[in-house]
């Protein structure tokens, strides 16, 4: 789950990292009120995307009137497909230097990785690519924890006078990462102010979805992914469903098999209408899954691809058949079924729907693509 700037900064403050004491506002009037309390301020669109500044979503204001005017422009603006419905009003900060810091899960070392650069700002990727020495990469032993002496020694190579203060921030950043089950926590920029103190001016936080139920307090402040109505319905049932633009509806078990079914549809000249996966613990949810797939009016044919290991194909097929007979859709349905419970599943499809499942997945996909095109003509 991703967190907007103000929610991420709250997690930083909880770990003892200073941030501007800002105010979240949803209307120009509230922004003006916030500006009155804060003084010179910056109004920042709270959306889950980068390049907010370049899109005009971050503006400086000296008076409450100016702040309200900026808020009128920013609220309702769309930045990278994200509509802005709230802003953060932060006090302005005297910036002497901008740095970069992050901790993330690193698949390569299979542990946490700390990143630090004395040069921060928007172009950190280019800095990292062109001047690798300007970026400190420190793998951390998750068992032993952060080796503060090694970290301090490394930071001293970048900024001897401020090494102590920077190390202190990085230690707290690692604590924030551990405490929040983060996949990523990033401060860009980490600012050294003219008085020499450090402050986190922005924050990106992504928390591991698998840990959300033990991060209850945090989970409430995260921003759910933007979803369609059908995606929201599926999510409430703990089904993985993504709505797409195509015409061939997909119902399969397991993320890998579902993705493969979509790939094969495209390979044989069709387009998938959705991702819907009922594998693992969800294999008993065929009925609501099918209802959601068929509720998309673009679906012109349905392809059911089951390959049961843990998931029993007879249980899944029975659910699909029941829902199909109940909903009576006016579109063709194509099956291919293999693995655990396949004999019972195939017999049920034959007897109750009068349909012969395909033995090869490719044949089933070709039939579904052709059926969707026929239905469209």
């Amino acid at each position: 789950m991703n967190f907007t700037e103000h929610a991420g900064k709250a997690a930083l403050r909880a770990a003892g990292i200073p941030t501007p004491e800002g105010i979240v506002a949803r209307t120009p009037e509230d922004v003006a009120d916030a500006a009155r309390r804060i003084g010179k301020c910056v109004i920042k669109a709270q959306v889950l995307t980068g390049k907010r500044g370049k899109a005009g979503g971050i503006k400086l204001a000296t008076t409450p009137e100016e702040a309200a005017n900026h808020a009128r422009a920013i609220l309702g603006m769309t930045i990278g497909e994200h509509k802005v419905d709230h802003v953060l009003v932060d006090p302005q900060v005297n910036i002497a230097r901008e740095m970069y810091a992050a901790v993330l899960n690193d698949p390569e070392t299979q542990g946490p990785l700390l990143l630090f650069s004395p040069e921060g700002g928007m172009d950190i990727e280019e800095i990292a690519a062109e001047h690798p020495h300007a970026l400190l990469r420190l793998p951390i032993s998750i068992i032993k924890g952060l080796d503060e002496e090694a970290l301090a020694a490394a930071v001293r190579r970048y900024d001897p006078p401020a090494a102590g203060a920077i190390t202190d921030i990085l230690v707290k950043l690692y604590e924030a990462y551990r405490a929040s089950d983060a996949e990523l926590v990033e401060i860009n920029p980490l600012v050294q102010m003219r008085d020499g103190h450090f402050i986190a001016l922005d924050c990106k936080l992504t928390v591991d979805d698998s840990a959300l139920t033990r991060q209850e307090a945090l989970a409430h402040s995260g921003t759910p992914d933007k979803t369609t109505d059908l995606e929201a319905r599926a999510k409430a049932l703990h089904l993985k469903y993504i709505e797409l633009d195509g015409e061939v509806g997909v119902l399969a078990n397991g993320a890998g098999l579902t993705m493969t079914t979509m790939d094969a549809i495209r390979h044989f000249g069709g387009q998938p209408a959705n991702f819907m996966e009922i594998g693992g613990d969800s294999y008993t949810k065929a009925v609501p899954a099918l209802e959601i797939v068929l509720a998309n009016p673009n679906v012109k044919a349905l392809l059911v691809n089951f390959c049961g290991a843990f998931a029993r194909t007879d249980v899944m097929a029975e659910g699909v058949i029941n829902a199909w007979l109940h909903l009576k859709p006016k579109i063709p349905i194509v099956f291919t079924i293999h693995g655990t419970g396949e004999d019972e599943a195939i017999a049920m499809v034959r007897e109750r729907l009068g349909i012969e499942p395909h033995d090869l997945m490719d044949d089933a996909v070709k039939a579904a693509v052709a059926a969707a095109k026929g239905a469209r003509a």
Binding site: D209, R266, A309, L360, M361
Partner: protein, 290 residues
């Protein structure tokens, strides 16, 4: 990470519904299931097998070569640390949705003790006709027939389809290695490829990957040195790319992870990349003839 017929297997969570169901199937297939762990039912017998309070207790009575975990997500870290402390060298973690920081923790502990972890989020291991651990339909003869193709898959369902396609085409499977679908896993595609390359029962390899991460790219580096033919299928060509926040992901991953990048890396290494899983058996047959 190939499971042999002589290896003894301990089942964490043997008394649960899935633990019971799959323990019976594993034992019927020939796997040497020696018992299981459930702290609340220590001292009882289940499936006519002993139940211990911990893997460390079990290790006092029995030699344990491998352990398989039917354990809920938040219990995995503790169960894994128990198995590692018991000195078990091969650990199969089936559980999906394990918090990644927990995974990183017990993987680090396993590395310190020299234990091999397969998973999390794997369907398990099969050596056809000999032994299996996990929940693959090894006993289904349409899916598994003895042969000389080694299969590596991140996904259980897709791995099952691939094995089935091989059998439909008249081929058979030497060993199946399910490595798991999580972003951080104990045995990588490259590790599995190396093991099957060294396995005398395996003549060719079918590799099933997925978009995301850099494991296929790393496996390609090894594949370039191999003599055995490898055919791959990478799932996700038609999937929308995942949303990534922040700069750190881009700094660490660079341009790795895309379908195009993986396909190019594998082809560069002499691996044939197939458009659908159904194409894999034909490619392997042709390459084995050459």
């Amino acid at each position: 990470m190939i499971i042999g017929g002589k290896e003894t297997v301990l089942v964490q969570g043997i008394t649960g519904k899935q633990g019971t169901f799959w323990s019976e199937r594993m034992r019927d297939y020939g796997s040497r299931i020696i018992g299981g762990v459930n702290p609340r039912r220590a001292g009882e017998r289940h499936l006519d097998l002993p139940v211990w309070a911990s893997a460390q207790d079990a290790a006092k009575d029995q030699k344990i070569d491998a352990a398989v975990m039917f354990v809920p997500p938040f219990g995995v870290k503790e169960a894994a640390l128990d198995i590692i402390a018991a000195g078990v060298r091969k650990i199969v973690c089936l559980t999906e949705h394990v918090p990644v920081q927990d995974t990183m923790y017990f993987l680090a502990a396993a590395r310190e003790r020299g234990a091999q972890v397969i998973g999390p989020n794997t369907a398990g291991l099969v050596t056809t006709g000999v032994s299996f651990v996990g929940f693959m339909p090894a006993f289904n003869q349409r899916v598994f027939q003895k042969g000389d193709i080694g299969v590596i898959s991140r996904s259980g369902s897709l791995g099952t389809l691939l094995c089935l396609n091989l059998v439909q085409a008249g081929l058979g499977i030497s060993s199946f290695v399910g490595i798991g679908g999580d972003p951080i896993i104990g045995t990588t595609t490259r590790d599995a490829l190396m093991a099957l390359d060294k396995d005398p029962a395996t003549k060719a390899i079918a590799l099933v990957g997925e978009i995301g991460g850099a494991m296929e790219e790393a496996a390609a580096e090894y594949a370039a040195s191999m003599k055995k033919p490898v055919a791959a299928f990478i799932a996700g060509a038609a999937s929308p790319p995942g949303k990534k926040m922040g700069h750190a992901g881009a700094i660490v991953m660079g341009d790795r992870g895309s379908y195009a990048g993986k396909k190019a890396a594998l082809e560069e290494a002499g691996v044939t990349v197939c458009a659908t899983p159904n194409e894999v058996p034909g490619v392997l047959k042709a390459r084995l003839k050459r």
